[in-house]
Amino acid sequence: MKDLVDITAGRLSPGVLAENFGDAHPPLTPAQALVEADRCLFCYDAPCITACPTGIDIPSFIRKIGTGNLKGSATDILSANIMGGMCARVCPTEILCEQACVRNTYEDKAVQIGALQRRATDWLFDQGVQIFTRAPLTGKRVAVVGGGPAGLSAAHKLATLGHDVTVYEGRAKLGGLNEYGIAAYKTPHDFAQQEIDYILAIGGITVVTDWMLGRDGSLDDLAKGFDAVFLGLGLTGVNALNAPGEELPGVENAVDFIAKLRQTADLTGLPIGRRVVVIGGGNTAIDAATQAKRLGAEDVTLVYRRGVETMTATPVEQDWAQTNGVKIKHWAKPVKVEAVNGAASGITFEYTTLKGGAVTGTGETFTLAADQIFKAIGQTYAAPEFSGLALEKGRIQVDAERRTSLPKVWAGGDCVAGGQDLTVASVEDGKQAALSIHATLTA
């Protein structure tokens, strides 16, 4: 084991970094999009629509790409999912629309729905065409807490329905995980902010940043000052390893690393360990591990305490990490962070097995040398307690319309119980909540 911890910036040249953090999956060319659109069978009651949390009319938007009606295509997408551009980039389509595509049964190869969705939405953003208009103003005012996918989706839908919206966001920029929590190469060229600009261009949405619920205002105040409140608070807590040494320098939350990377203008200045260990089995773990590798880490190992079948990262994500040289180890849990000179130098794991359905240590251990350790074992709901706001399994309880237990308060996105923790599901929550708020306010 090395004596000196090796966490250094500038492991790779600016040119290589630019390539590593450019578009990981470049868009289809217009010619490729036409060939791919031609593969869509225009199914009746298409299974892909059912598989999309926002219910985009996929066969219609694809047919419109084929006929050259790109504006109509993008309109189909964005009227069901205002973040159709981001979802085209980050949706795990392999477990959603593309998994349901009947072409899988026929020839084991789905239509590339995500890539086609990007073709149509990119076209629209490039053209700068505004396809939404606001309904006559209702005079009603709605507060949206949280400027992530759920909050922005709710805000946009409410604004189109004629309500005035104020979005309160705790960070400096809107976007939530789209801006702070997704690997840079999935959404390069500041796409998250480009999409937000399009959303805000509808008008009627006031944005307040650096505003924290509890610190800068209470839920009671919002409920009194507005006709309705939507909570899109996200998950701001991070699970701990509960292993000795996790407070040592060199041990970091994966979400913080990902956010820092996204907000760093010059990646040559961002330090990364020579040997990196990531703990966790979800997409955050994959994003942290793969980006560490692409920043120039020599060895990156992702360790997950269970088997491949329970990893929440999809097989496509796992393949992606492995293609990037990340080593994935299953069936091991962290027991102790090792230290040299007061900083993390490695981490010891215990092999695990299933006993009576529970993950149990076998007693056998191994140690991985590590200059940097990223924790990616899940985020938690960590908002302050609100009197009368019922929780369920540690998150906000909502009904099918995304109403909470409090009158005038709706919620959606990762902060509500039963969520899928996907951008697309959050967008749907915001949309459904907005429709419910609208129905209530105009009743």
């Binding site: 217009p30 010619a31 036409l34 031609d38 593969r39 225009f42 009746y44 219609s60 047919r63 419109k64 084929g66 006929t67 050259g68 009606n69 504006k71 109509g72 309109t75």
Partner: protein, 424 residues
Amino acid sequence: MADLRTNFAGIKSPNPFWLASAPPTDKAYNVIRAFQAGWGGVVWKTLGEDPPVVNVTSRYGAWHDGNRRVMGFNNIELITDRPLAINLREIKEVKRDWPDRALVVSLMVPCSEDSWKNILPLVEETGADGIELNFGCPHGMSERGMGAAVGQVPEYVEMVTRWCKQYTRMPVIVKLTPNISNILGPARAAKAGGADAVSLINTINSIMSVNLDKMAPEPVVDGKGTHGGYCGPAVKPIALNMVAEIARTLDTRGMPISGIGGITTWRDAAEFMALGSGSVQVCTAAMVYGFKIVEDMIDGLSNWMDSQGYATLDDFVGKAVPNVTDWQYLNINHDLKARINQDLCISCGRCHIVCEDTSHQAITKEKDGKRYFDVVDADCVGCNLCMIACPVPECITMEAVDTDRPYANWTTHPNNPMAKVAAE
């Protein structure tokens, strides 16, 4: 948002997309589904005299491309096989419930004045917006002296049209058969008989394919087959030409035309309209994909019109007609050369071999000992063949070159023995 409202020979519809008289419009159930999906109008499947005809099994044949898209389709169905009274009752109910949609009734009865005189008041009583005379059906009915058997004889077309104008106040649309040497004959006859409009084309006589195991034409009916009516995307060029001929010829010009023939997308419809069609009729595309395709037709046409600055259909209907001319008036001094975009070229060599084998030997195959395809301007006649054979869109384009020669055409060319102006 462009205004798609249509007024075709006095028949109004919210958009120009009508379903043609065919299986999709055979009964109220289908027509209501079509209206719910957004179709602007329908031409009800052809009514005849009782007792109704009978149909055989099977009825349809098709030609698929390599991706199993239906490019051509044919059918040997006859007119409606339901009793007249049921159709009339349903037509009346549907028109009552959908007053903003165009509902035109297709008719085919024997070629006698009484037959037409008797059925017209029954149709008029339903409140339908108009009638379309089926002079085009090429199979079955024509053997009984109806359909194409009438449409192929201009005198009959004129006679029946005149009877209809005499016995009904409803607008009369005459549906023309393409199974004729010159479409202008029946078109002129329809006009002479007082028709308010024509619609074309009806289906084309065809044998879809031959089943080599059964040694019989498809669709096979108990070991035998017959010619059927051909339609679908493959017939569109034939239909466009016939529409254009009527739209540009002095004595038929200006007659409202409802364009029919392989229309599958808004773009197809726009082409028919540019050649003078005031409405369009669709059948095969609906029969292959369902009624929902009309959404893109409406949306796509509207978006395209917006992008072109056309506010209403009248702004572009017929706009391409002045540019359809006779060959003899084409500019003989216009010159094009093929251009190969080497960045897009995938080096398949098809441009070279088609030019080398079948045309003008104007595309070379190598450069510096390497596979490389380029155009020899001196030999290129600008025929488009390489561009058509090229599998990559936009890879081969045609570029106009300056010939330094003014417009000239065949009528004055020295090689023309019948030149109108003697060559100096």
